[in-house]
Symmetry: C2
Subunit: 382 residues, 2 copies
């Protein structure tokens, strides 16, 4: 039996998600927005019976068994951890910091019977599911290089907000790069151990963001990850993100190995073995019927749709509306994956400052929140 | 009046160059090969009256006024410097080291009345000539990012030789990367001041290179260059070279600026201004008639052809067969440019070892050849 859903967020993802949930038979009972007005407006538009700007009203809502959190990164941890504490299943987007991600991991470990998955959607895209399968089957031989590029228009909101602020989780690396980092660990079955990167904010002001306000989040980011084995045995991943290209949308993921290569362009998958003369189309995604959404690139939209289908299968398997089967969502990123991704994001940022390769070290215990205070007190004593 | 030409080399470039020279009206009088046999064979094939394996026989040949040197990098400096000393005009490919390049610069400075240009051919490709012009005219606004990728099959020769050896000037970075480094400085009108890179040799042995022999030259390389102004004002260039992709040839140079972008795919140029909905074809190169050569990618072939045309115009301007006009070859890379390129190549290699950003510092005096010896003697004294 399908659980009742509560949705946090009124942005473009939430707007797309609700119709997808409904199409799969989920009932969306409650919507949370940052302001009463935003929530009311979108609830009316999407036909959601209850709306609020008080998070507890959704979390404690008796018909809500699954909470979908698509809100600014800096607010995600608080809602996600609370939802698990109240006993709700959670699908959410990334948090703003590794510390927040770690707190989410701790909560998820504490409630293993509850579903807790990251809403990074690229893993579910059929092109990447097929790519992973072909990698496992040895289509490219020994994997050598992954090369990813995403080009598109600005990620900034119309008005000044978190998307402009690096520390609030804005920027291409955090927003789009994190989905790519997750995808590459899914495809390669390995994790990055060293990263190097360069971030830039080419557009610091525009017609809407001016005066004393300045964009601090990156609109260009280039990073490399060494994954899997150390030394020359590792896979080299290079990722180029450029969001200064209005009117374009390029989403290309290429993996090159000793005997061939695979490349996903948008939602289609191509391959070429070393012996052959040309590329073959391995997955034509033209059969896709679903909403076209201007603000959301097709790979993410298509991935989100597939994830919702997987959620339906997971919950359908059980009679009880809060129970779910692990199988259909086994490929979804866990909160542990979310912590890994956030750790890589922060290592790339560090590298961009230091100019050096940075190690990816996953947090294993929460840093002492009084650490800075203690240091200050120590200094005062001397 | 056109000068008589002597050609050094029997490789694929020399094989392509001779017909191009003849087509423009140059007479090729002499051919040098490493072995008598190689020289004889190719001279017969191309209809060159004189062949030899003694370099002086070409350099001192009385009908030879222009020497074209397309031989392994480690031999280039010696022939080029000697040719200038004898009073011949020189077109040549890159040397193996910055020290060699510096010696060539010294010779070129000493004989400013002689033509001395690097045979890097991409500058002459019409797509890049047009790209540079559009950059100057402000098509892309303020330049932010250059993104280059070259993918193709292995660069290794059929048998073990210099192409396998990093120290002999083999590898993707040295062979193809150097043409890209030169091109980017031509396009941006700036030079790299800091670089970062990673080199890999994924294929260390193959069916022909085995046993105790091992390839040391890179078959995968990516590097970044910060060019022009320092700090956030600099242009970020990223270059990805992958020669583990048999059956492919991708040659893409993209420049992105504040108001638009330009991209050369192969020999064609496309552009898109930020306001517009799609790319426009700015230069269709389908009118190109010339030889198709399997071993040489079209952009290089087309560029080589344009360079030979420019040489013809340069020499035609004068009655005396050794004199030439600067105008038509003004855009050609000088030996100073060759030294810059070699310096960047070596900085990228250093960076790949150190893992750090490396400064590009152009040699201003020749290092003392006895430096290491002196140090050893010093150590022994203590």
């Amino acid at each position: 039996m399908l659980p009742g859903v509560g949705v946090f967020g009124t942005g473009s993802t939430a707007r797309v998600l609700v119709p997808l949930l409904k199409a799969e038979g989920f009932e969306v009972h409650a919507l949370w927005g940052r302001s009463e007005e935003e929530a009311c407006c979108l609830a009316k538009e999407l036909g959601i019976p209850f709306h609020t700007s008080q998070s507890d009203d959704v979390l404690l809502h008796q018909d809500v068994d699954l909470v979908c959190i698509y809100i600014p990164p800096s607010m995600t941890r608080q809602i996600a951890v609370k939802a698990l504490g109240i006993g709700k299943n959670v699908v959410c987007e990334k948090a703003a910091t590794a510390v927040d991600s770690f707190k989410m991991v701790t909560a998820a470990r504490y409630y293993p019977q509850l579903l807790s998955v990251m809403g990074n959607t690229l893993r579910f895209l059929p092109a990447f599911v097929a790519m992973r399968q072909l990698l496992v089957e040895g289509y490219v031989g020994e994997l050598q290089v992954c090369d990813v590029r995403v080009y598109g228009p600005s990620l900034l909101d119309q008005s000044y907000g978190w998307t402009c602020e690096e520390l609030m989780g804005g920027g291409g690396l955090h927003t789009v790069g994190s989905a790519i980092i997750d995808l590459l660990s899914y495809l390669t079955g390995a994790r990055a151990h060293r990263v190097h990167g360069l971030l830039r904010t080419f557009v610091q002001q525009n017609g809407l963001i001016r005066g004393i306000r300045r964009v601090t989040s990156d609109d260009f980011c280039f990073f490399q990850m060494l994954m899997g084995g150390t030394g020359s045995g590792s896979v080299c991943c290079t990722v180029t993100l450029n969001f200064n290209m209005p009117g374009s949308f390029v989403h290309e993921v290429m993996v090159v190995g000793s005997t061939g290569r695979l490349v996903a362009r948008g939602t289609e998958l191509y391959g070429q073995r070393n012996g052959s003369k040309g590329e073959e189309l391995l997955l034509d995604d033209s059969g896709w019927v679903g909403p076209e959404v201007k603000e959301m690139p097709l790979p993410h939209l298509r991935g989100l749709s597939s994830m919702v289908k997987a959620l339906r299968q997971s919950f359908q398997a059980h009679e009880e509306r809060r129970s779910w089967a692990r199988g259909p969502v086994a490929m979804a990123p866990t909160f542990e994956d979310g912590l890994y991704v956030q750790t890589v994001v922060e290592a790339v940022k560090r590298s961009s400052c230091s100019g050096e390769w940075e190690c990816v070290e996953i947090m294993s215990q929460e840093p002492d929140p009084n650490h800075n205070l203690c240091e200050a007190l120590q200094r005062n004593k001397n």
